[in-house]
Symmetry: C2
């Protein structure tokens, strides 16, 4: 028997990948969780039928969502991660060493954390660090009520369906703004400009309406729809285009050249996020 | 009935895309040609079971393989395209206007040209330009015998199987070097660093052994394996990192920022093309 995992990334297109073994299947209070052993990408975490991460390419997403804001902020002492129960973002945050004093991780589904610890021990290695506090709680609720001011907030959400829907609303980003220090920076994953141009435009519009500095950047992730993923960064003071050289971070995708290049968008993506009155058509 | 085209991009992974209609199927002397009408990407050209181009994303590949070398060369009068029977590269070359005096297109399979003209009239629009000469001939043979010195040579080949195999050999690139003017630049598509790291390394090694300046760059192409594609450029004099601002090219992917950014490689790709004696491991 040959087993293939096929994911419809849009209603008309998807990926298909050979599976050695189904390691785990579970319906939690919030979503379905599947863990697969694949031949091409190693272990794969699938939430509600969408690939969240694989052993082979998780480094791209996790490095790019963490190191861009952290390198842009001169002193990221307090960092908040919304979502990210797989631990990958926390692992990357901790590479910034002594600067990092506190990391709060707010994941709504405890089972994502438990299963990631079991099946992705390397990815979750940072979760046991003494500076990391894990809150099993709804991200939107946490952000609305926290009294802490964060230097960096990273929104590592799933797609805007089910439990993550509030994380794509204006109210949520307003609360994120309020939970940031006066020099704070936030970043969110904002899907692919190829298959979800309207979502990219909407999220960029929302974030740019709140923050004095907003910038979209991209990374190439093979197992995500279209392979080209976008992130939107909102900043109160620091422009992420100007940043200090950091000591070697031991990364596999991120580096200073990539940090700069990631903001240089393809022409059709630039056009996508321009305000209507800037378009000459 | 639902019809899906599934392409194994590696033995263990692929894409699957919904098909409205199979427009054409043919076995030529050189390869199988399929033309599909898909819902996600519009019309799709498939050679030997590999997507060559689709209406929706062909602009990325064609713009990036053409405008990078043409913008780097101050005066690209004579341009040669090896392969590229679909006409997309020629269309992009002609956007450079009066600078372009002569374009030679050498395509081994006349049926690719004929069928592209029929099913992709916009892509093939440049083939009827009076400066364009079409040679239905083997690319390696043409390059070994031509007396013309070209300013830019673009190797728009299929994969290194079947008819295109010679286009991935040292002898071929040596002949390309000899067919270039003293300021000549060549570029070749060199596959994906995700699934074909050894091929990328080998081709980069070959080209960099011949040319004083060699550079790898990438572009994000949804329908190509992994979504991240590489191109290797070899140059006798001009460094593609330094180039003059061009007038507006009416492109959808390429722009000056993208030209610069495309050479800023992810850390794992940088490592891939480093010479062994430069690696500290």
């Amino acid at each position: 028997m040959e087993l293939w995992y096929t994911e419809k990334q849009t209603i008309n297109h998807g990926i298909t990948t050979k599976v050695v073994n189904c390691l785990h299947h579970e319906q939690t209070e919030f979503q379905t969780i599947d863990l697969l052993e694949t031949l091409e990408f190693g272990r794969m975490l699938v939430l509600d039928g969408m690939v969240m991460m694989t052993e082979a390419d998780e480094f791209v997403y996790h490095e790019m969502i963490a190191h861009v804001p952290l390198s842009a902020h001169k002193n990221p002492n307090n960092v908040l991660v919304i979502g990210g129960g797989d631990g990958g973002v926390v692992r990357e945050i901790l590479r910034h060493g002594e600067k990092i004093q506190r990391v709060d991780l707010v994941e709504v589904d405890k089972r994502v954390i438990d299963l990631s610890k079991k099946y992705f021990p390397e990815v979750t290695s940072g979760l046991s660090d003494h500076r990391v506090n894990i809150h099993v709680q709804d991200g939107a609720q946490y952000i609305a009520n926290t009294k802490i001011k964060y230097d960096v907030i990273i929104v590592d959400s799933t797609e805007p369906v089910g439990a993550a829907t509030p994380l794509f609303q204006l109210d949520f980003y307003r609360a994120v703004f309020n939970a940031l220090s006066p020099t704070g920076i936030m970043v969110a994953q904002t899907d692919t400009p190829w298959f979800k141009p309207n979502l990219v435009r909407k999220l960029y519009g929302t974030i740019s309406s709140l923050f004095p500095i907003s910038r979209l950047y991209t990374a190439a992730i093979p197992t995500y729809p279209s392979g080209l993923w976008s992130f939107t960064l909102g900043s109160k003071q620091y422009d992420p285009l100007y940043f200090e050289a950091l000591p070697e971070l031991k990364t596999k995708y991120y580096c200073m050249e990539v940090h700069r290049a990631a903001f240089n968008l393809p022409a059709f993506v630039q056009k996508l996020i321009k305000k209507k009155d800037e378009l000459n058509e």
